[in-house]
């Protein structure tokens, strides 16, 4: 699907650009895009590596584990059919805590381990279990505390207040997470009686 969107944008864009602006502009637009991609990465590298460094301290000091213990009551509500002492439950908590702190590289492995454990305890073959659907819906709705990469991009484009969006983002992400949980809980009633 992404292949389709990408090739459509390149082909249709270049052809139209060629007709309306001429060949020089068309070629220029493509190379401009490539140059700004590299520029953006170099700009992002500083803050991203600083943030990853800080978050690695959070992980190695046990802060993430601490956080994942604190969110257990919420997880019990979201995943009532996953036993609290199971490995699946622990991985789910780590996945959520890591997501919350913006630790993508720690969240995805924990999430995948959780999926594997859920498959075992619920004897899943071809059809998703109820806990799996909830885990993915909450992951997609994003529960991130600080949208670091967006802040960096706002700085790059000379925003007067790059951090302005942090608080509204927390509200918006709470709304989308709440919507995901409510929708999944409603569907659960229909599919798992």
């Amino acid at each position: 699907m992404l292949d389709f969107i990408w090739s459509f944008a390149i082909i249709a864009g270049t052809v139209t650009c060629f007709i309306t602006h001429g060949p020089q502009e068309a070629a220029g637009a493509i190379t401009d895009g490539a140059a700004s991609a590299v520029e953006l990465c170099i700009f992002m590298a500083g803050t991203m590596s600083f943030w990853s460094g800080i978050m690695n301290i959070a992980q190695e000091s046990g802060l993430i584990d601490n956080l994942s213990r604190r969110i257990q009551p919420v997880m019990r509500f979201l995943f009532p059919d996953v036993p609290t002492e199971s490995a699946a439950f622990k991985y789910i908590c780590v996945n959520m805590a890591a997501n919350f702190m913006g630790l993508g590289w720690a969240a995805t492995p924990a999430g995948l381990m959780a999926m594997g454990e859920l498959k075992k305890i619920h004897n899943v073959t071809n059809t998703a279990s109820r806990a799996m659907c909830m885990l993915i819906a909450v992951n997609v709705s994003s529960v991130q505390l600080l949208p670091v990469n967006i802040i960096i991009m706002r700085q790059k484009y000379l925003s007067a207040a790059p951090f302005d969006i942090v608080f509204p983002s927390i509200i918006a992400t709470s709304i989308s997470t709440f919507a995901a949980v409510a929708a999944v809980k409603m569907c659960e009633r229909r599919y798992f009686k």
């Binding site: 699907m1 493509i30 460094g53 799996m132 967006i150 991009m153 995901a180």
Partner: protein, 174 residues
């Protein structure tokens, strides 16, 4: 307004200080741990560069060709019913497939509207409050060979749309 501003800009320093303080208490070798993580961060950034190049070339030529404004004109009556700016519909769609593609597109939005404009703020909040649904679903479900995903996609898209409408609203009131 002032309180929101200070929460917004104060959060990052507070997180940084608390994490370092916690590390000090737990006697982690801070510099060592930091540099290990910083290296991971650098690798992550440059790992997305090839995809970002592909997608930023596409979005750059597409915006330049004025085709994007034609598409916006078609979509805008539908989007305006939900109080959502039509300029951001492509971003919303692309974000469902790929984070780096969305990054490429938001740079176009920031350079044409400015990051502090209504459109720019809505785009920022929107990207912060959702994840790539198709990517996440395929990675997670493929890892356990699940084919029938039941109601997951429906619920995810519903939550993304709620997040998008909340973003448009919040950007208007902040």
């Amino acid at each position: 307004m002032n309180i929101i501003d200070s929460i917004s800009s104060g959060l990052m320093p507070v997180v940084v200080i608390s994490v370092i303080a916690y590390g000090l208490i737990k006697k982690v070798s801070l510099m060592d741990s930091f540099t290990k993580g910083a290296k991971k961060g650098l690798i992550t950034v440059f790992n997305i560069l090839p995809a970002l190049t592909a997608l930023m070339c596409a979005s750059s030529v597409f915006v330049k060709s004025d085709l994007s404004s034609v598409i916006e004109e078609i979509i805008s009556p539908i989007a305006s019913v939900f109080g959502f700016p039509a300029e951001l519909v492509p971003l919303l769609v692309v974000k469902m497939f790929s984070s780096s593609a969305a990054t490429g597109l938001i740079t176009e939005i920031f350079s044409s509207f400015g990051p502090d404009s209504y459109i720019g703020r809505t785009a920022s909040i929107m990207l912060a409050c959702t994840e790539t649904v198709f990517y996440t679903m395929s990675v997670y479900f493929n890892s356990v060979n699940v084919k029938n995903t039941l109601y997951t996609l429906r619920c995810c898209i519903f939550s993304i749309l709620c997040g998008a409408m909340a973003s448009a609203f919040l950007a208007g009131v902040m």
